[in-house]
């Protein structure tokens, strides 16, 4: 049951990608459908990671919110980098801190790591079980709990709903 | 505008070619050789040959670098065995 859900999501993803690339000519629909079907059956063992996605109206709403927040964080991080780079004194205070996450789904964890990498002043260096080791350009709170509060929490609450 | 792009890319290409032959570290030399292919593929695109640019981007800067790396990796492993 679970594996079929993952395969189905993978199939839809690949099919939409093909249509974005090739347009909606009927011939393209047929060939794209066959290709996506064969590939999703071939990779159905890898498609397990998609089976953890919650499909509901609420998670869709949270996905939109998440993308919105992510884009804002991305722009803020760039302004932050610009401020630091252009300052002649280079105001940095770097270090590697440890944070904890509650997510268990693989796709959710990779999304979280990517979001952390792209948001202000943080870069995922290593993951061990529930701990993420993060290079922080401006360490303001060195212990685990407050760093988790500052870095992880704002994305985690959305990803928890989407990926379970 | 095209002239400016050609000049900048060409000069970078030539200097990275010299760099690739002068660097002591082999892997750094391989990275420089990858940069040559990278810039050459943009020049191919300016010469209106997207097929060739795609091939050069895929093979020249991707697979050639990896093939060199795999060979160096084998040599490194062999060397490590000799030491130990």
């Amino acid at each position: 049951m679970k594996i079929w859900k993952g395969t189905l999501i993978l199939f839809l993803l690949l099919f939409v990608l093909w249509l974005l690339l090739a347009g909606t000519d009927p011939q393209e629909l047929i060939v794209g459908g066959i290709t996506a079907l064969l590939l999703s059956l071939q990779f159905s063992s890898k498609a397990k990671i998609f089976a953890e996605v919650n499909i509901s109206f609420r998670s869709f709403y949270f996905l939109i919110l998440y993308i919105f927040i992510f884009l804002i964080a991305l722009i803020k991080s760039n302004l932050d980098v610009a401020r630091r780079v252009l300052d002649p004194k280079l105001p940095i205070n770097p270090g590697i801190v440890k944070v904890k996450t509650k997510l268990s789904s693989k796709l959710g964890r990779i999304m979280l790591a990517n979001s952390i990498t792209l948001t202000p002043g943080t870069l995922t260096v290593e993951t061990k079980d529930e701990n993420y080791y993060i290079h922080w350009i401006d360490v303001t709170s060195p212990d685990i709990n407050s760093a988790t509060e500052a870095i992880v929490r704002k994305f985690e609450k959305y990803l928890e709903v989407i990926f379970g | 505008m095209t002239i400016i792009i050609i000049l900048v890319l060409g000069i970078l290409m030539l200097s990275s070619a010299i760099l690739a032959l002068q660097l002591k570290d082999l892997v750094a030399a391989i990275i420089s050789a990858g940069v040559i292919s990278l810039l050459a593929s943009v020049l191919f695109l300016i010469l209106a040959a997207p097929d060739v640019a795609m091939t050069e981007a895929a093979i020249g800067s991707g697979l050639t670098t990896v093939v060199f790396l795999f060979t160096i990796n084998r040599i490194r492993k062999l060397k490590g065995d000799d030491d130990g």
Partner: protein, 117 residues
């Protein structure tokens, strides 16, 4: 496009110089691949025409316009196959370099004296 031809020849020149002066076998192979890229640049730049565009017919280039605007497709086809062959030849040379290292434990060309005359 004269500029690109000159850059291509300069690349060939640097590559040959590197192949002749370097002492390390891997560096010689890098020189070979530089020569490869330079030759491709020269062939393509000689086949270019004024204001040329890619010979692919779509919404922006109609069939009738193709004769007056598109570039010559033959050098592109030649270079395309040459690049793939270049990868295979480079891989073969690298495997030879590896086998030589396995025999002698060195990559310097001065350690291989059997073929010296």
């Amino acid at each position: 496009m004269l500029l690109i031809t000159i850059f291509g020849f300069a690349l060939i020149f640097i590559g040959i110089w590197g192949m002749l002066t370097q002492k390390n076998i891997i560096k010689m192979i890098i020189g070979f691949s530089i020569v490869d890229t330079g030759i491709h640049l020269v062939i393509l730049s000689i086949g270019f025409r004024k204001e040329g565009t890619a010979p692919i017919i779509d919404a922006t280039l109609s069939k009738a316009e193709a004769v007056s605007r598109a570039i010559d497709p033959i050098p592109s086809a030649l270079v395309l196959t040459a690049i793939v062959i270049g990868l295979a030849v480079t891989a073969l040379m690298l495997v030879y370099a590896f086998k030589m290292y396995e025999k002698k434990g060195s990559l310097q060309i001065k350690d291989f004296k059997e073929l010296k005359w």
